[in-house]
């Protein structure tokens, strides 16, 4: 059976400007290839670039990921040591004031460290030894 397609926000926005243009667009050009002048095409290209750049900036400055960054970068997301660090965070650290402050500082600094660990295998090894040492101390 024919499934009705969704109408895009842009299509309705165009309709609010000029109905005739939308109808002629549909009638004379392919549904996916809109007719644009060279000047319009150029500004669309610039607009797309700006969108992409802004998307990158926004996700970089806003994204808050509540994973155990350093352990995840060192051992992986599913590793038992990573899981035990998460457990330590939830059961011990989050119950005290000092622990909460430590978590705040950790989440502010660790994404950058995790990126460095991800890129360098030698730092990853050092991090592995350090984390195993800390893991032994806390368990």
């Amino acid at each position: 059976m024919f499934k009705k397609k969704h109408t895009s926000a842009t299509e309705l926005a165009d309709l609010s400007v000029c109905e005739t243009k939308v109808v002629l667009d549909r009638k004379l050009t392919n549904r996916f290839i809109k007719k644009h002048s060279e000047k319009q095409k150029k500004s669309i290209r610039i607009g797309n670039k700006k969108h992409e750049q802004h998307h990158k900036n926004v996700t970089r400055h806003y994204k808050e990921d509540k994973r155990c960054f350093i352990a995840t970068a060192t051992f992986g997301n599913e590793h038992p040591i990573t899981a035990s660090f998460r457990l330590f965070r939830d059961e011990k650290l989050e119950k005290s004031k000092a622990g909460k402050i430590f978590i705040k500082i950790y989440y502010a600094t660790s994404p950058a460290l995790a990126t460095i660990i991800d890129k360098s295998p030698s730092i990853k090894k050092i991090s592995q030894y350090a984390l195993i040492f800390i893991h032994k101390k806390i368990t």
């Binding site: 895009s8 926000a9 109808v23």
Partner: protein
């Protein structure tokens, strides 16, 4: 013991330096962005993500950014144009996003205003706009369907300067 203490101090200092650089980058970006106050403390809910709904009508779209302030959602759409004017077209576009988000995330409340982010040679500015109601969007959708079925004659724009740059200006008259 000494080595461990030195290592811990070194890691702390290094982390602080990285944290400081990242924070100053963010400060610089926020200054350049000229963000409205409520968006500085907001969380990013989604960015450049496809959303759609089937009720009240079959609608879809790619909102540029949606921010969350507690349980409320605020839509931001970027336009790169020379003038700092917000057109009705922009308001319709983010109003459609609002209709979809209201249906998709029923636990969240979509604010009845949004922001148009204009990026041009003058810099970046955010314009606060009131969104259209759901009924107005439904009426627009139904009008579009009517035109698709050729049940109605399409109106021409009232904004005459638009016709000068339109690629259909020669074909428009007899239509």
């Amino acid at each position: 013991m000494k080595i461990i203490a030195i290592t811990i101090i070194f890691i702390t200092l290094f982390s602080y330096c990285v944290w400081y650089i990242l924070k100053s980058n963010k400060r610089e970006w926020l200054k350049k962005e000229n963000l409205p106050k409520e968006l500085i403390k907001a969380k990013l809910f989604m960015s450049e993500k496809y959303i759609s709904c089937t009720s009240p009508r079959r609608l879809c779209g790619f909102p540029d950014q949606v921010f969350a302030v507690s349980k409320d959602l605020i839509i931001v759409d970027t336009k790169s144009r020379d003038s700092n004017i917000v057109y009705k077209k922009d308001i319709v576009q983010i109003s459609v996003y609002a209709v979809i988000l209201r249906k998709k995330y029923k636990r969240k409340r979509v604010r009845d205003y949004g922001y148009i982010r204009i990026d041009n040679y003058r810099g970046i500015s955010y314009k606060k706009v009131e969104l259209l109601s759901e009924d107005e969007i439904i009426n627009l959708y139904d009008r579009n369907e009517q035109l698709k079925k050729f049940n109605s004659t399409a109106n021409k724009t009232n904004i005459k300067p638009l016709c000068k740059t339109c690629v259909y200006q020669k074909k428009c008259f007899p239509y």
